[in-house]
Structures are given as structure tokens and as C-alpha cells.
């Protein structure tokens, strides 16, 4: 006997585990137990095998591996005693998987036990087989199970019936063998046997069409009679559940009748009477009674139509809806959802009750009711239903508002009878829950607004009123800002008045006030602020008298930490300041947005789930916007004709810039002169890594507001970059050049010539600067041609100019002679020199180079050194 294992009883082990205060302690106890059980297993200890297996089952429940005990189950099952067999079968069901080969070994023991003289052992074997049988076992043991269906003890018969279900699920071919035995079981009086026989019958019907036909013909009448007896039976105490006679049997009977009656008018006809009896006679004040009614309703809905019954059924559901029990209301809504496709009219009659359920205290009921209401809405009831829902929106729970607004918006979009009503309802929703609507909702609203030219004035005035009362709702602010930008002139002049409107007086300054408040509001996010800037630019042309004030507001964003805003405000300021002649053309009213294109695109991009307005803020750690939905792009490219939006290049470019180059500049700062690294980093950040092609195309996109003006605006902006550069700080000058470079017509990249790389400012001191231009021969990616250009900004001439470079071992460097050794001052000329670098680790490491420049200034030797590690990464 093993000295370790035997001492602790199951009870003691459980106690020890329960006494553990931490998970680590528990693991230690379990480990120790498992070790002693393993030891006992290897000693082939017979006395405590079943105790050890019981322990393993407990350990298994706690989530520890117990595979080493699997063979023990088999040994116990093969033992002769009842306690061993019982634990062995329990372990078999809990620890083993039908896919494991070990299971094959148990088939023989099972066969013996199915033929055992003790019916309890037979019961254990049936239970195990019913739980874990594999297809092979099912085939091998089906004859035994079939025989047991006629066993004298009803407990064995009912278990055999359920075991047969597993068998025919695993091997559907065997179904026909069971049809006749089941037909005779269905005539039994014993409730348990009848219950299981009905379940087996239902499963036979699903796997075999022939069985279904057979049972339909031979057994429908009998089953109807059984149900009739059950409904009218006197009180049977042993099957009573809260005063209802064997509700579970009735439910099973209703279910099998549903299967038999579905799609067959004759069978349905046979059961009409009894269904009506069940529906009217069952008491509905207890859960058990309601369970029967619920099942009955489902059966009535599935069998062939007999009008009267369906109305009865839906009325039962209507009664359920006002039941105090949450569970009953919940299932009623589920069932009504199914019933709506069968008899929509009957469900419509309970609309008022369903609408009440939208206001239920239980969130899952509210959600279901809302979905049901959504299905009930049609052209005739859309107006009153929407009104109800919007009224409820005002008082609903915060966390329900998201769902509710989404559904209301969807209803309004789908069924709105006219645009005026659509706009009114959307404004109401936005005012109530503007922070909960998805982006596509207000995008859609803007599209509708542009398509309703006679309502522009009305809309912009309504929005002006709305923003006064609901300025805290982001979506209201956005739509209002957009509309005021576009239709500001209609706002102040009361143009396009509708009869129902009250005139309001709004001055140009009032309109600008709204936008100023919006842009300064601290909760406004990037999208809103960027929209404000665009609106301001538009208003500067619509309201010439406010031009100076607008310019001041725009200027305040020049120092914004958000790159997008900073850039836009600098650009817009220049437009207001210097380009009055093209401004009015530039900011013309948007062309009407094409609804078809928009809805098509929306359908296409729907799975990508546009983030909700209150969702993740568009910031990454150092405060630069990801600009994923840069609003300017987003809104304006609605008008562009090509369906593929370019804006995806925006975030990539920014991320590249920030992700890639911060790293390289950080590593560089360790090796170069410390005082320079700061500005270097900034320079690198902004001057490298930005592939001009992408930058260019997206900005061009932005300004394609009016397609005709495309050319002029691009040119205008191209020239615009110069004055900005001169006024900017020298250290950041080159950065701005680079960014604005993009405004030029997008450089066409010859595809076959390999990728193009931006020029690199390799070295810059107060007087000397070196710029590298890169090129590659197609077909030899590891070789880079560098053309170095040296220029001298000081007033003196440098003579005996020598440039030297060194590279690490994985690179090979070839220097060609320089074009000259004299570098004239004042930037009047330059020296060029060609370098050829071969990167043996192309794709893994990037270029790095140490340089030394020596020259004579007034015959004095001067030496400058530096390291370049900010080469484009894939050279």
C-alpha cells in the first residue's frame, strides 16, 4: 500500500483545499495530492482506486489537468463491485473525451454491463453511453440498447430511449431500427418513459424523413389523445409542479405535435381542438402554466394555418406582455418577434403594450421590445411611433440611449415620408442624444440637407436655435457648424422662410459667435474644431464685414499642438490674407452631395464600424492627431467622383513620421553632439519619412471642393508656401518646406524605377549644409547612389574642401571625385560628389555613416564631423 496517498480521505482533501487562502497554496495542495495519486496509480493500488478517482474529479472541477487518471476509470469500470463501477462511470463521463482512443477500450465493459443482471449497473452503463458515445461505440452497442427499450424496469427503458437519441445522432443510418420500438413506447402510461419516448421520436423525425411520415400517419391521433388526457386529467401529485399536472410532459407533447403538424394540413387539423383546449384551459398564474402556454403558442404558429387559433395565440402573448414576471415578458417578446412574419397584423394590435415594454426597468426586455418596435414600424405608423420613441429618449437611461438613437435614426432614414420631417426628427434626436449617434448618422443628415435646396434656410435657422439650447451635444454642433459655414448667408437674411417658421434676427456677428464658441469649447474634439475652421474660411467670404474678426479666430489655432489644426489655420490664414481674388471661388457652396454614392459607400464601409462620436479620442500620446477621420477629407471627399477615398494615406503618413523616425532620431541622439540632437530630432521628424506622393494626393483631395478650380487652387497654394517659410523659425523652416512641398502637383513616381526617396539634410551647421539625394538602380536594391550637394551660406569662400565618409562593416562605400574643391560663399554655388553605398544587410539594417569635412577658411584649417543615422529606413 502506498504510504502517501491512502491517508487523506476525499473529505480531508476537500477540506485542505478549502482552507487555502491563496491560489498558490491551493496549487501546492493539489500538486501534492496529484503526486500521491500518480504514485498510487503506478503502484497499481486497488484499495483506494475509487477514492483517488473521486479526488481527481474534484481536482478536475477546479480546472487542473487530470489526464493521468483516465486509465483508472477503465479499471474501475471493469471491476465487479457497484461502488467501483459507479465512480468509474462518473469519471468516464467527466474526464474523457469521445475522441480519445482510450474510449475504445471501454466498449467491451459497456457491453457486459448493458447485459448485467443488476439493473442499476445497466442504468449506469446506459447513462455513460448516452453521454459520451462515439460513432463506433454507437454502432457496436445499438443492438443492446434497442433490446433494453423493452426491458421490464421502466427506469432502464427511459434511459435506453435517451441513449438511443445519442446513437441516432452519431449514426443516423441506425434510425430505422428504432422506429417500431418507439411507436410502442409512445403507448406507455409511465410518465418518465413516455417523456423520453417523445423526445426520441422528435429526434427520429429530424434525422429521417421516413420516420417523420410514419409517425405522422400512425401516432398523431394517439399523441393528441395523450395530451387531451393530460389537460383534463385529475390531479396527479407525483408529477405536479405548482398545481399543474406534469407540465413537462405537456410541453414535450406540444413540441412533437408541432413537428408532426408542420407543413401537413391533415395532421394540423387533428390537433386544432386540443391546442385550443390547452390555450384556454391552462392557468397562467404560475410559471409552469405559462411554460405550457408559451409552447402552445409556438406550436400554433408553426402548424398549418387555422386563423382563429393564431389570434388566440397572439392574444396569449399580449397577456404575457403585461405579466409582472420579467421572464414571461422576455419570452413573449421573443415569440412575437417570430410571430411577426406569420401574422404581422395580429402583432400590430399589441403595439401599445410593446411600446410600454421599451420603457421596462429590465434592460434586456427594453432591448428586445425596441427591436420588435423596429420591426413593427411601417409607412402608416412611422410618425406616431417615432414621436413616442423620441419622447422616451428624453427620460431614458444613459446606457440605453445609444441603442435607442441608433434605432430611431434607422427608422427615420428608412421610412421618412418627406425631407422636412426627416430633418426635424433628426434634429430632435441630435438635440437629445447627439453624443450617442454614430458618425454616419450625421454624415447622412448632411447629405440629405444638401439635397433639399428649398429647406437650406429653414435647416440652418433650426440648427442655429438648436445649438443655443443643445450646444453640449457634439453632433448638433458639427451639423450646425457645417450648415452655418455653407448657408450662413441664408441664416442672417431669413431667406427661404417656410410658412411654419417664426422669423428670427441673426446678425453676421451672431453667426460667427456660434462658431467661435464651438471652436473654443474645451470638449470639442479635433473633428469639430477642424470643421469650425473650414466654416470660418467659408464665412470669411460670405460675411466680408467679419473678415478681420474671422482672421483673428483662425490665427488663434496657429499655435495648436494638433498638427492638422495648425496646418489648416496657417493655410486658411494665407487664403484670407493674400488670396482674396480666388477666395470666393475656393469657398463656393458645396455641390449637392450624391445620395446614391453616399449610401453605396456607407453600405460598403459598414463593417468597418465608424467609431461613435464619443468613442476613442483621436489622440496618440504626444498630442498629434491620428487624423483618421480628418473631417475636411471626410466631408469634402463626399463630392469626389472616385469611390476610393485617399484619406487612408493621411494617418499612415503621420504614423510613419512619428513611429519610425522618433526611434531613429532617439538612437542617433546618443551618438551625435548632444546640444544638436534636439533640433535634429525635430528636423528629422519633419523632413524625412514623409513620402511626398501620399501627402500630395490627400491635400489635393481636400481642395477639390469645386472641381473646376482645382488647378488654380493648387497653384495658389504652391506659391503660398514661400512666404510662410521665410517668416517661420529657422529651425523649423525646412520642416514646413517639406510639409508644404506636398502642395505641389503630386510627383509622379515612375514605377519601374524603384521607389523614390526624399532628399535628406545630412548635415547642417551655421554655415555649411549637406543634402543627400538618393537613387537606386532597378534590380539591385542593395546599392544606393547618393549625390551629395554641399553649400556654404557664410560670406567666405572655403578652399581645399574635402569630404570624407566612413561606414560600418556591413556596408561598402565608394566615393567618386568631387566636382570641385572650392566652395563659394553666400550660397552662390555648390560642390557635388557622388557616393555609392552597397548594403549587404539590405532589408535588415539601414544605412549609417560617419562624415568628416575639412576645409580652409582664410588659410586656417577647419574640421567638422558628424554622424548620419537618419537615412530612409529601407535603403
Amino acid at each position: 500500500m502506498n504510504p502517501f496517498s491512502s491517508e487523506t480521505r476525499l473529505r480531508d482533501m476537500i477540506r485542505a483545499i478549502r482552507a487555502c487562502k491563496t491560489a498558490a497554496e491551493e496549487r501546492a495542495v493539489v500538486r501534492k495530492e496529484c503526486a500521491s495519486i500518480r504514485a498510487a496509480i503506478s503502484d497499481n493500488d486497488n484499495d483506494y482506486r475509487h477514492r483517488n478517482l473521486a479526488k481527481l474529479m474534484f481536482i478536475h472541477m477546479l480546472g487542473y489537468p487530470t489526464h493521468f487518471g483516465q486509465m483508472e476509470c477503465l479499471k474501475l469500470i471493469a471491476a465487479s463491485g457497484f461502488p467501483e463501477k459507479r465512480i468509474g462511470y462518473l469519471g468516464l463521463m467527466l474526464l474523457l473525451d469521445e475522441r480519445q482512443e482510450v474510449l475504445m477500450l471501454v466498449t467491451n465493459s459497456l457491453k457486459q454491463d448493458l447485459n448485467h443482471t443488476n439493473q442499476y449497473i445497466v442504468g449506469l452503463a446506459l447513462c455513460a453511453l448516452g453521454n459520451i458515445s462515439s460513432a463506433e461505440m454507437a454502432r457496436d452497442l445499438a443492438p443492446e440498447v434497442e433490446r433494453l427499450l423493452q426491458f421490464r424496469d421502466p427506469n432502464v427503458r427511459k434511459k435506453a430511449a435517451l441513449c438511443s437519441i445519442r446513437i441516432i445522432k452519431k449514426v443516423p443510418d441506425l434510425a430505422e431500427n428504432f422506429v417500431n420500438p418507439v411507436a410502442s413506447l409512445l403507448k406507455e402510461k409511465h410518465h418518465g418513459v413516455l417523456l423520453t419516448a417523445i423526445q426520441l421520436c422528435a429526434d427520429l423525425c429530424t434525422v429521417s424523413e421516413e420516420a417523420l411520415e410514419y409517425f405522422r400517419k400512425k401516432c398523431t391521433e394517439g399523441l393528441v389523445k395523450v395530451l387531451k388526457d393530460a389537460v383534463n386529467s385529475p390531479y396527479a401529485p407525483e408529477y405536479d409542479i405548482s398545481g399543474i399536472a406534469d407540465p413537462f410532459l405537456q410541453i414535450r407533447l406540444l413540441r412533437i405535435l408541432r413537428i408532426l403538424g408542420h407543413g401537413d394540413a391533415d395532421a394540423s387539423e387533428l390537433m386544432n381542438d386540443v391546442l385550443a383546449q390547452v390555450a384556454t384551459k391552462t392557468e397562467s398564474n404560475k410559471n409552469a402554466g405559462n411554460a405550457i402556454l408559451y409552447e402552445c403558442v409556438e406550436t400554433i404558429m408553426s402548424i398549418e394555418d387555422s386563423g382563429g387559433l393564431r389570434v388566440l395565440a397572439i392574444n396569449i402573448l399580449g397577456r404575457f406582455l403585461s405579466n409582472r414576471d420579467n421572464n414571461i415578458r422576455y419570452v413573449a417578446l421573443n415569440m412575437l418577434m417570430k410571430a411577426i412574419s406569420v401574422d404581422g397584423q395580429a402583432v400590430q394590435r399589441h403595439r401599445a403594450t410593446i411600446l410600454e415594454c421599451v420603457k421596462d426597468l429590465d434592460a434586456s426586455i427594453r432591448k428586445r421590445a425596441l427591436e420588435l418596435v423596429y420591426l413593427l414600424v411601417n409607412e402608416t405608423n412611422v410618425k406616431p411611433l417615432t414621436k413616442e420613441l423620441i419622447d422616451y429618449l428624453e427620460v431614458s437611461d444613459q446606457d440605453f440611449k445609444g441603442d435607442l438613437t441608433a434605432k430611431i435614426c434607422s427608422i427615420v432614414e428608412k421610412l421618412s415620408p418627406e425631407k422636412l420631417w426627416y430633418i426635424d426628427q433628426m434634429l430632435k434626436v441630435l438635440c437629445e442624444a447627439g453624443n450617442y449617434v454614430k458618425d454616419e448618422v450625421w454624415h447622412g443628415l448632411i447629405v440629405v440637407i444638401t439635397n433639399a435646396p428649398n429647406l437650406h434656410g429653414y435647416t440652418v435657422r433650426s440648427l442655429y436655435r438648436a445649438i443655443q439650447t443643445s450646444g453640449d451635444q457634439e453632433a448638433v454642433v458639427r451639423v450646425a457648424v457645417w450648415c452655418i459655414g455653407e448657408y450662413g448667408d441664408l441664416l442672417v437674411n431669413n431667406i427661404g422662410m417656410l410658412d411654419l417658421e417664426e422669423p428670427i434676427t441673426v446678425t453676421e456677428n451672431d453667426a460667427v459667435d456660434v462658431i467661435e464658441v464651438a471652436i473654443k469649447r474645451h470638449t470639442s474634439d479635433l473633428t469639430t474644431r477642424a470643421m469650425c475652421l473650414t466654416a470660418l474660411l467659408k464665412l470669411s467670404s460670405r460675411f466680408p464685414s467679419c473678415s478681420q474678426r474671422i482672421k483673428d479666430i483662425v490665427n488663434q489655432s496657429k499655435g495648436s499642438l494638433l498638427l492638422e489644426l495648425q496646418q489648416r489655420s496657417i493655410e486658411f490664414d494665407s487664403i484670407i490674407e493674400k488670396h482674396k481674388n480666388i477666395r470666393s471661388a475656393l469657398v463656393e457652396r458645396m455641390p449637392v452631395l450624391d445620395e446614391a454614392t453616399y449610401s453605396g459607400r456607407r453600405a460598403g464601409s459598414l463593417p468597418a464600424a465608424v467609431s461613435t462620436s464619443q468613442g476613442n479620442p483621436l489622440h496618440i500620446p504626444n498630442g498629434v492627431p491620428k487624423a483618421a477621420d480628418a473631417p475636411l477629407l471626410d466631408l469634402l471627399d463626399l463630392s469626389a467622383d472616385e469611390p476610393a477615398p485617399q484619406n487612408s494615406s493621411g494617418p499612415n503618413f503621420l504614423q510613419d513620421l512619428l513611429g519610425g523616425d522618433i526611434l531613429s532620431s532617439a538612437s542617433q541622439s546618443g551618438t551625435t553632439q548632444p546640444q544638436k540632437s534636439g533640433t535634429d530630432a525635430l528636423l528629422d521628424l519633419l523632413s524625412t519619412g514623409a513620402p511626398p506622393a501620399q501627402n500630395g494626393s490627400s491635400t489635393v483631395d481636400i481642395f477639390s471642393i469645386s472641381q473646376d478650380n482645382n488647378k488654380t487652387s493648387v497653384n495658389a497654394l504652391d506659391s503660398l508656401s514661400l512666404p510662410v517659410v521665410t517668416s517661420a523659425q529657422s529651425s523649423s523652416a525646412s520642416s514646413i518646406i517639406d510639409l508644404l512641398d506636398g502642395f505641389g502637383p503630386a510627383p509622379t513616381v515612375p514605377k519601374d524605377n524603384g521607389p523614390a526617396y526624399p532628399p535628406l539634410v545630412a548635415f547642417e551647421s551655421s554655415s555649411l549644409s549637406i543634402v543627400f539625394n538618393f537613387s537606386k538602380q532597378p534590380g539591385s536594391p542593395q546599392i544606393t547612389q547618393i549625390e551629395a550637394t554641399f553649400s556654404n551660406k557664410s560670406s567666405d569662400v572655403y578652399t581645399d574642401f574635402i569630404f570624407q565618409a566612413a561606414v560600418p562593416k556591413f556596408l561598402q562605400l565608394h566615393l567618386e571625385p568631387a566636382s570641385s574643391n572650392t566652395l563659394p560663399g553666400n550660397g552662390n554655388g555648390s560642390i557635388t560628389q557622388k557616393l555609392r553605398v552597397t548594403n549587404n544587410q539590405h532589408g535588415k539594417k539601414s544605412l549609417v555613416m560617419r562624415i568628416r569635412i575639412s576645409y580652409k577658411l582664410n588659410n586656417k584649417e577647419i574640421l567638422e564631423e558628424g554622424q548620419i543615422s537618419n537615412f530612409p529606413r529601407d535603403l
Binding site: 480546472g63 459507479r86 441513449c163 417523456l195 423526445q199 410541453i251 410559471n287 409552447e295 421572464n327 426597468l361
Partner: protein, 163 residues
């Protein structure tokens, strides 16, 4: 079909786990953790049904709390939710009669007896018996047999009366 019967306490500790489709032990624990997370965050006066996608889109979960324990049944669309609630009631009533005033500790220390009781109520995911007196009779016979393995003959005699 019933997919699983689970009993956990209000700390999330499993007290009874029975899956009718085999699940590896890690998956079982994950399912239990997920269920516990859902259940302990539910408000009090809400329905007992949870939409559960552990076993596919159509599976549903019914739970009921009894003192410190959550009783949970996961099942597919072929079962009636309200009837499953009654089934849980039968299960708990049976436990109550077998242990005379069942409490969490009874279930912890007699988990294999609880399994035997459950096996008399549900077999292979299907309901065998809804009468708790029938279940108790069967369980009593089994435990008598357990205590006195040689009483097989005597039990057979008592059975003969059923024929």
C-alpha cells in the same frame, strides 16, 4: 438539447460542472469565468435569461440564485426557457430532500452524489425524469447498493414489485 449544467458560488468558485458536449478543462474554466462575469454584474430585478453565445448563436442561458449559489443551465433552441426554470426548481428541490436542507457545503463535500442525482434527471443533454420523488427513489436505491454491495439480490426483489 441541454448543453451544460453548472453550479458556481457567489465568489465564482465552481461547485458542479457538467458539460454534455466535451470541453477541455481550460475551456470549461474560461466559460465559467465568462458566465460569472456576466452574472455578478446583473441587476437584481431582471429576467433570468441571458443571451449566450458560448455554444453558437442560438444557445441561451438560464440562471437562478439559491442562497450563495448560482444554478446555470445552458441549452439550445429546442428547449423551452420557462420549462428549464421548472427543471432547475425540480433539481434544487431534489437536492433539498436528499440532503435535508441543502447548503453549499453539502454540494462541495458530496459532489459525486450530486452528479448521481443530476444523472437521474438529465441524460446526454435530455431530460429523463421530472418527478423529484422518482429521482429520490432511484438515488436512494443507488446509495443503499453503494453501502452494501452485496444487497443486489435484495434490491432485485424490491424491484420485482414494479413490473
Amino acid at each position: 438539447m441541454i448543453r451544460a449544467v453548472i453550479v458556481i458560488n457567489d465568489q465564482g468558485k465552481p461547485r458542479l460542472i457538467k458539460f454534455y458536449d466535451y470541453q477541455p478543462v481550460e475551456k470549461q474554466q474560461e466559460i465559467i469565468r465568462n458566465i460569472y462575469a456576466v452574472l455578478c454584474s446583473r441587476a437584481e430585478n431582471v429576467s433570468n435569461f441571458v443571451q449566450d453565445s458560448t455554444f453558437g448563436p442560438d444557445t441561451r442561458l438560464v440562471y437562478k440564485t439559491f442562497a450563495t449559489l448560482y444554478f446555470i443551465v445552458i441549452f439550445d433552441e429546442s428547449e423551452n426557457e420557462l420549462a428549464i426554470l421548472d427543471l432547475m426548481q425540480v433539481f434544487v428541490e431534489t437536492l433539498d430532500k436528499c440532503f435535508s436542507n441543502v447548503c453549499e457545503l453539502d454540494i462541495v463535500f458530496n459532489f459525486n452524489k450530486v452528479h448521481t442525482i443530476l444523472d437521474e434527471i438529465i441524460l446526454g443533454g435530455q431530460v429523463v425524469e421530472m418527478s423529484s420523488s422518482e429521482v429520490i427513489k432511484a438515488v436512494d436505491d443507488i446509495s443503499r447498493l453503494e453501502k452494501n454491495p452485496n444487497s443486489i439480490v435484495r434490491v432485485q426483489k424490491s424491484i420485482s414489485g414494479w413490473q
